[in-house]
């Protein structure tokens, strides 16, 4: 342990200088954060209690009450949970499997990684347009062609209110799985080899090794990415804007963020748009704190920080 050096009381001049220089570094970025993040956020909060952007009459919780009576809002809220559900069903395990396979394969590993990561480079808008064409309703659109091999009738894939959310999630998963699998890959690779060696010595079967060693070692990453995925699904926006379009038939793919956008830019109901945004923010904040909490629980240094400093 290093001996603690007695802290010298710094002179007023040097402290002033430190503050001055510090603020000189911070001031321009601080203005930018103010303009782009804090002001719009605060303005939106105020706006959610006002009649309109251009008419600042205070209306209390009227906007919140109005959106809770709007069936489209209820639909969007329900859809948000459907998005989460489907994204967990379709998209949660794929990157885990890919990460594991990539960590074990020893032929052409680099090529596999490059190919699997490629979809992540394509811009989201291009991906949704591409998948939107595949989901088309004529007999020569890809999904109907594949369906016809199995004897299915031509059907409007995007027009099906039950299928549209899974189809959107499919497109999102196609784009996102590669980059998430790299996170799992590094988690798998950081598992201690001596642990496997010891298990091998003790005659544990491959199956036992997987469930007793690999899975527990991965628990932290699995939980962290679980929460992160939920947070990111709350922000679904342009997918239902393009594949749908604009929330799909009967608002079947409407998301909260898209609804907030449509309130402001199509219905010109800025108060309702702001109220929707604030509710979404509250949900995201809750999940973010959940995420921090999970990370804190998983932190191996938990409770030891004080000791190390002393």
């Amino acid at each position: 342990m290093r001996q603690k050096v007695p802290h010298r009381k710094k002179s007023l001049k040097s402290r002033l200088k430190k503050n001055l220089f510090g603020w000189a570094f911070i001031i321009i970025p601080l203005i930018l954060f103010g303009l782009y993040v804090w002001y719009p956020m605060g303005r939106n909060f105020v706006l959610s209690f006002q009649k309109d952007y251009f008419d600042s009459t205070f209306v209390g919780f009227d906007n919140y009450i109005a959106i809770f009576h709007d069936p489209v809002f209820a639909k969007a809220l329900k859809n948000t949970f459907l998005y989460i559900l489907w994204s967990l069903v379709i998209g949660y395990l794929v990157p885990v499997i890919l990460g594991f396979l990539l960590s074990e394969v020893f032929h052409a590993k680099g090529a596999f990684r490059v190919i699997l990561y490629l979809p992540c480079m394509i811009s989201g808008i291009a991906v949704v347009f591409l998948f939107s064409t595949m989901y088309g309703d004529t007999s020569t659109d890809l999904f109907n062609v594949i369906g016809s091999w199995f004897g299915a009738d031509t059907q409007p894939w995007k027009g099906n209110v039950h299928l549209i959310i899974p189809l959107i999630v499919l497109a999102m998963t196609w784009r996102g799985a590669g980059s998430t699998s790299l996170i799992y890959l590094s988690a798998f690779q950081s598992i201690d080899d001596t642990m496997y060696e010891a298990a091998r010595m003790d005659g544990a079967s491959v199956w036992q090794r997987f469930w007793r060693l690999t899975v527990p070692a991965l628990k932290g990453t699995l939980l962290t990415l679980f929460v992160l995925q939920i947070i990111s699904v709350f922000q679904v926006f342009y997918e239902p804007l393009v594949i749908g379009p604009k929330g799909g038939p009967l608002s079947s793919s409407m998301s909260l963020q898209l609804l907030s956008y449509l309130y402001a830019f199509e219905d010109f109901e800025h108060g309702k748009s702001a109220a929707t945004a604030i509710i979404l923010v509250l949900i995201i904040v809750v999940f973010t704190f959940l995420y921090r909490f999970v990370q804190m629980l998983l932190d191996p240094m938990r409770g030891k920080k004080g000791e190390r400093r002393r």
Binding site: I28, L35, S123, F129, L130, L142, T224, A264, V285
Partner: protein
């Protein structure tokens, strides 16, 4: 912790596999060899899934209009309509989209690196009075996606005189560029990196009488190449795919980026034939694929750290 590495050979054999879940000892068991074949097969399947939509995009975009309207479906075009590329390129003046996107991406990367690193250095290293509050406020902004507050943000940009459809110069991009200068995630990446740099370096430079600005530019920045590279990669891919804010801000026809252009073209009347539209999407993703193939190592390394370090 002990890591055993598999030696590199041209033809990898089972007895060369070191470390990991299955190693050479496990592969003495023929059942595990069969298991490895499964690993390869499943990976090949996922590679097919990853590549198929891109190949589909390429094949479909080259079809002629007559072919798309015929009732029989073929995957590859019967007639390759190469001349379509130049026809569509001229009709939409596609070169300007690339140029505008380049202008946007370069400005965004510069702003992302410069302003966020300044902020991070001020807050995490110099630590003037009030740095803790600023840090908390930025984390608040990190939780709330900027897009949610887009309406007040746009009104603010309008108040500064930027949403003018007749804007003639590239200054139209200024509000978009500066937006990348206020990014909580990039700030946090810089902050974590700077706070891990050895304090003795800065103290030594202070002893030698260097000013804070000199320490930042001559000592810190040269040491920060890895993190600058990561933020540059993230902001490059993010700005290339950025949709909503550019869509709202870039009012003038002349200055639209490629993603905004694609979205606007999808709404023109009469609508473009599907193969023609797919060709434009193909053109829009080609630069991203080329960039990926050039910088694949850096991009994938940056992406792998994304979820684990936040």
């Amino acid at each position: 912790m002990r890591k055993t590495r598999t030696p590199k050979r041209v033809f990898m054999r089972f007895k060369d596999k070191r470390g990991g879940f299955l190693n050479f000892a496990d592969y003495r068991n023929p059942a595990n060899k069969v298991g490895y074949v499964f690993i390869i097969v499943i990976l090949l399947f996922f590679c097919f899934v990853a590549l198929f939509p891109i190949v589909f995009l390429f094949a479909s975009s080259m079809k002629s209009v007559e072919e798309i309207n015929s009732s029989t479906y073929t995957f590859w075009p019967q007639v390759w309509d190469w001349e379509k590329i130049s026809r569509l390129w001229e009709r939409f003046d596609f070169g300007r989209y690339y140029l505008n996107t380049l202008v946007y991406v370069v400005g965004a990367v510069v702003c992302a690196v410069v302003f966020n690193s300044l902020m991070a250095y001020g807050v995490a290293v110099i630590k003037p009075r009030g740095h803790k509050i600023i840090n908390t406020l930025i984390f608040l902004g990190y939780m709330v996606p900027t897009i949610l507050n887009i309406f007040p943000l746009l009104q603010e940009i309008r108040a500064f005189g930027f949403l003018d459809p007749d804007h003639q110069s590239y200054l139209t991009f200024l509000p978009l560029w500066l937006g990348f200068g206020a990014n909580a995630y990039y700030y946090m990446l810089f902050r974590d990196y700077f706070s891990r740099l050895p304090k003795s370096l800065i103290e030594a430079a202070e002893m030698d009488g260097a000013s804070q600005w000199q320490i930042f530019t001559r000592v810190i920045l040269p040491l920060s190449r890895p993190i600058i590279g990561i933020v540059a990669i993230f902001s490059m891919t993010a700005s290339y795919s950025d949709f909503l804010l550019p869509y709202c801000v870039l009012q003038s026809e002349k200055h639209q980026t490629i993603v905004v252009g694609i979205y606007n073209i999808s709404n023109i009347n009469p609508p473009l034939q599907t193969p023609d539209f797919l060709l434009l999407i193909l053109l829009s993703i080609i630069p991203q694929i080329i960039i990926f193939l050039i910088f694949q190592r850096q991009i994938m390394n940056a992406g792998a750290g994304k979820g684990s370090k936040e």
